[in-house]
């Protein structure tokens, strides 16, 4: 019964969303104050209805209600409670409900934190979000309802994919969705600006904090996904250029470009049209990502079960939302006034280069992701575009972006003198070159790639330290956004170090081991001391025990497992990982090998600095948090730039 009420709540929510979408917007068109005022309350009601609906589904999962078809397909009575909860978003229908929970959550947040905004603006933003919500809710209700019944109820659920039974699953999708959906706010602000015809800098100031928060979640979501793949999949990979991964990277790249472009629009009134376009683009890429993942057009390890019918709906929705926004853009954007003068060498021009590079990088990723589809659609055959392509094209494009962090931070608004800039950058430049040369000549496997990665990271770090020192010597309080910028940039440098070091100096040994055999990497040795059977809540496993020694001294025991879940035929590898500040030791247990004495195939990895990839992401998130905490953004009061 409660399930049907949950379903009904969703239907109600769709109606409320429609009201929320249409009336406030009509209210701004016809200057009808009362309709505009409906925006906030309808957002609140919609959120409550969807939260209720989500709660019903979660309750169904937690109480093993296998008369709900979705729960029967994605959950199981043997699952630990947190995974029962996570199974709510383990499949297509439930994940859409999560998406809607987030969308209504973001909308109601806009309603709550927009006291200082003019009512008309709020009405437009919430109205636009309402229309988007209506579309998604219609999609859920017509093609993907999580509340379908299975009568009679199944005796037990089919079980969550063993790969997903992991803390990573509990956080990664919600974080990612918060990001994807969060960009809808910037989108709504920019389309509202287009609609109002007032493409002034105010909308930029209002949307900055929202954009940064969405970016923070997106960063966290992507980093969590990468980290999770690293420890869960069993062979230590952390990025595969899989279409679904690309689907999350593209909005992130645009979001980064948007954050930087908004600085110019906010402070100097420039790049108005460009910022609007980036905002529309970021959310469009989120929607495109949704399409790619759920329609079955692309093969991916992550894709939900595909259904072309759903694909058609999403595509039409995508076409409408983005098509209308871009048409509005073509119509209204030309009227935007230009900002002040921009010097050829200035912070604005650097930020513009940043935008162009990030957009081109996104274009490259998009091109690579959909190229197989295009070639197939033209009946020209089937080809694959994989990691070799993306690495070859993406990395060279990102190097100048990272490089620009230093001159971007040092240069002045409006105009900067090249000579001055050059002098300021001399020290970081020398440090970088020296570091690069050192790595190239002094390390065993140093190459020009590791040299360049190191040089780039050192360049950024020395550059930002110098900027911080210089600023500390000046009087006056330092705004949090200053720390935010440098923390985030530091984060990127740390990520660069992580990637450079692990790719350049990683060591792998693929061996067969019997009891008491040892394998050594660098100054570590691993001895197989035992293999035993282990029973888990919903699996049986073979666990190997390794005695790990460093420089001959005992360090610890590591216990990789190979699990056989009751529900799935595929064995799962639970790698044993020793995470260290400067290196990870990664042990992966393979199959038992036939022979006279028992032996197992084991893969041992020594991964230097790999955790820096995720530490860097944490720094970026911190940087974002500092930036958002800056009151200057959030005082979207009367001051229009």
């Amino acid at each position: 019964m409660i399930v049907e009420i949950g379903h009904f709540a969703l239907i109600l929510a769709a109606c409320v969303a429609l009201v929320q979408g249409v009336l406030p917007l009509a209210g701004t068109a016809f200057d009808h104050q009362r309709w505009q005022a409906l925006a906030r309350p309808s957002a609140a009601v919609q959120f409550l209805l969807i939260a209720f609906s989500f709660g019903v589904l979660a309750h169904g999962a937690l109480t093993d209600d296998f008369s709900i078809k979705y729960i029967a397909e994605h959950s199981n009575s043997l699952l630990p409670a947190q995974y029962k909860f996570a199974s709510v978003w383990g499949g297509h229908e439930g994940s859409l409900l999560l998406w809607m929970l987030m969308l209504s959550g973001w909308t109601v947040s806009v309603a709550l934190f927009s006291r200082t905004l003019p009512l008309a603006m709020v009405a437009r933003v919430i109205g636009i979000l309402g229309l988007v919500s209506t579309g998604f809710l219609m999609f859920i209700l017509t093609t993907s309802s999580p509340f379908e019944r299975l009568l009679p109820g199944a005796p037990d659920g089919r079980d969550l994919n063993p790969l997903l039974q992991d803390p990573g699953l509990v956080i990664h999708p919600p974080m990612l969705y918060m990001g994807y959906v969060g960009f809808s706010v910037a989108f709504a602000f920019s389309v509202a600006a287009l609609m109002s015809g007032r493409m002034d800098a105010a909308w930029a100031r209002w949307s900055r904090p929202w954009t940064v928060v969405a970016w923070i979640f997106m960063t966290a979501g992507i980093a969590l996904g990468s980290w999770w793949a690293y420890y869960e999949l069993g062979w230590g990979g952390w990025w595969f250029w899989d279409p679904v991964e690309n689907a999350s990277l593209m909005p992130w790249l645009f979001g980064t470009a948007l954050i930087h472009a908004l600085m110019v629009t906010d402070k100097r009134g420039g790049f108005k049209a460009w910022s609007v376009l980036l905002a529309i683009g970021a959310f469009s890429l989120s929607l495109l990502g949704t399409f790619l993942v759920r329609s079955g057009v692309l093969t991916s390890v992550h894709a939900f079960a595909s259904d072309p019918k759903r694909g058609v709906f999403i595509l039409i929705f995508l076409a409408l939302v983005v098509g209308i926004s871009l048409t509005l853009f073509a119509w209204r954007a030309p009227k935007a006034t230009l900002g002040g003068k921009i010097g050829l060498v200035s912070r604005e021009s650097m930020l513009l280069v940043n935008s162009v590079l990030l957009v081109v990088a996104t274009g490259a990723v998009l091109l690579g992701t959909v190229y197989p589809l295009i070639v197939d659609a033209l009946n020209l055959g089937k080809l694959s575009v994989g990691a070799p392509y993306f690495n070859a094209v993406f990395v060279p494009l990102m190097v100048p972006v990272v490089f620009l962090m230093v001159p971007g931070g040092i240069s002045h608004w409006r105009e900067s003198r090249l000579k001055e800039l050059g002098q300021d950058m001399l020290v970081p430049a020398i440090a970088a070159v020296l570091a690069g040369l050192a790595v190239w000549t002094l390390t065993e496997r140093g190459s020009w790639l590791t040299a360049m990665g190191t040089a780039l990271a050192v360049w950024v770090v020395v550059g930002l330290v110098m900027q911080i020192v210089a600023r500390l010597q000046k009087p006056g309080r330092i705004a949090p956004s200053f720390w935010g910028m440098h923390l985030a940039h530091l984060g990127i440098a740390v990520v660069v170090v992580g990637i450079t070091m692990v790719k350049g100096y990683e060591v792998e040994r693929d061996v067969r081991m019997g009891l008491n055999d040892t394998v050594s990497i660098e100054n570590y040795s691993f001895e197989l001391t035992g293999v035993s059977q282990v029973d888990g809540p919903n699996y049986k496993a073979i666990r190997a025990e390794f005695k790990v020694s460093k420089d001959g001294q005992f360090l610890e025991l590591m216990k990789p497992e190979k699990r056989k879940y009751f529900s799935s035929a595929m064995p799962m590898t639970e790698a044993a990982i020793d995470t260290g500040l400067f290196r990870d030791l990664y042990l992966s247990l393979g199959e038992a090998i036939e022979g006279s004495t028992p032996q197992w195939s084991v893969r041992v990895f020594y991964k230097p600095f790999v955790s820096w990839i995720w530490y860097g992401a944490i720094l970026m998130v911190l940087g974002g948090l500092f930036a958002v905490s800056d009151r200057r953004y959030r005082n979207s009061a009367a001051s229009v730039a």
Partner: protein
């Protein structure tokens, strides 16, 4: 202790020492899975750029699917025959088509793919230079109000958008 016991103890110690040595002789440095590390290195290098045909989206290097195992064995065989990387890729493309390559060949069909980003970058840079040129001569800070703007200012003052 009687001399018999002493001798027994001594023998026991010797035996123990011998067994211990034998035991540690048994435990040894693990043998590599691969029979020939040189071949294996080339295999990993090549198969990272090849696609597992029966997987959702995995390279031939990392997949544990049966066909992947078979194809890796096939590649090992070709490596031992001293075939070059491109010959090995050719061998697989003849049988499975371009789909098996993760690094698409550069040919007319993929020119847009390989040169597209570069052209896009060029277009971006050119557009940017034009734009910046334009903004050089722009009014430095002082904005001229258009008629439309004047009207809007009037409206704003009238509507009194309160903070």
């Amino acid at each position: 202790m009687t001399s018999f016991l002493k001798r027994a103890k001594y023998m026991g110690l010797v035996l123990f020492a011998v067994l211990l040595t034998c035991g540690s002789l048994q435990a040894k440095e693990a043998a590599l899975m691969a029979e020939d590390p040189v071949v294996e290195k080339r295999l990993i290098h090549i198969s990272e750029e090849l696609r597992c045909l029966v997987c959702q989206n995995e390279s031939l290097a990392s997949s544990r699917a049966e066909l992947a195992n078979d194809l890796r064995e096939e590649v090992r065989k070709l490596i031992r025959q001293d075939k070059s990387d491109s010959q090995i890729k050719e061998y697989l493309v003849t049988r499975y088509g371009d789909f098996v390559l993760y690094r698409p060949e550069v040919k007319p069909l993929t020119w847009v793919l390989w040169f597209g980003p570069f052209l896009l970058l060029l277009a971006g840079v050119v557009g940017m230079v034009f734009y910046l040129r334009q903004r050089q001569s722009g009014s430095s800070g002082k904005q001229v109000l258009t008629e439309e703007d004047r009207r809007k200012v009037q409206e704003l003052l009238k509507s009194g958008d309160a903070p």
